[in-house]
Subunit: 98 residues, 2 copies
């Protein structure tokens, strides 16, 4: 019923430069049809996911976005040698302030 | 007044092998005088801090410890060239189950 729809697909952090992800998050949080987003990272990209959240919150959307829930967990993936490997994950919710 | 004192000094994640930190966290959570601990990481060690929390929780203290609050933030430090640099931080609370 709400006019603002919630987009929880989220943004996956990978090999691109930090600012690519910062820009994507800022665009999503300032667009008309989304008042929140989730930054998702796995393994070594977890540190970068936190960087993206902090740069958005401290530099670009100060007073305009706030941290929501932060979740950590474990996933599994098959590596090049065909073995199942545990990998840590993080999800950081950022919410546009009213 | 409580017989179990709370230790919130926490364990800082750095260059040592993952299992050093896992062992330290498990020891703290299973000792008589501490029912919680905080895993702390900065910069590139944030991913490792999440790994430590997940390995403790999933492998060593399954059903015996649970995730508490997860906090992220930013700090500043002076690098080798004498410049102030922003660095992300994480703090993960782990709590012994009753």
């Amino acid at each position: 019923m709400a006019e603002t729809t919630t987009d929880r697909r989220g943004i996956y952090i990978g090999d691109k430069p930090l600012m690519s992800y910062v820009t994507a998050v800022v665009m999503q949080l300032t667009s008309q049809n989304s008042d929140r987003t989730t930054i998702k990272g796995r393994g070594k990209f977890i540190s970068k996911a936190v960087d993206v959240a902090e740069v958005v919150r401290e530099r670009f959307l100060k007073d305009k976005a706030s941290l929501g829930e932060i979740r950590i967990g474990s996933g599994e993936f098959t590596n090049r040698e065909g073995r199942q490997v545990r990998v840590s994950t993080i999800e950081i919710d950022l919410v546009r302030k009213a």
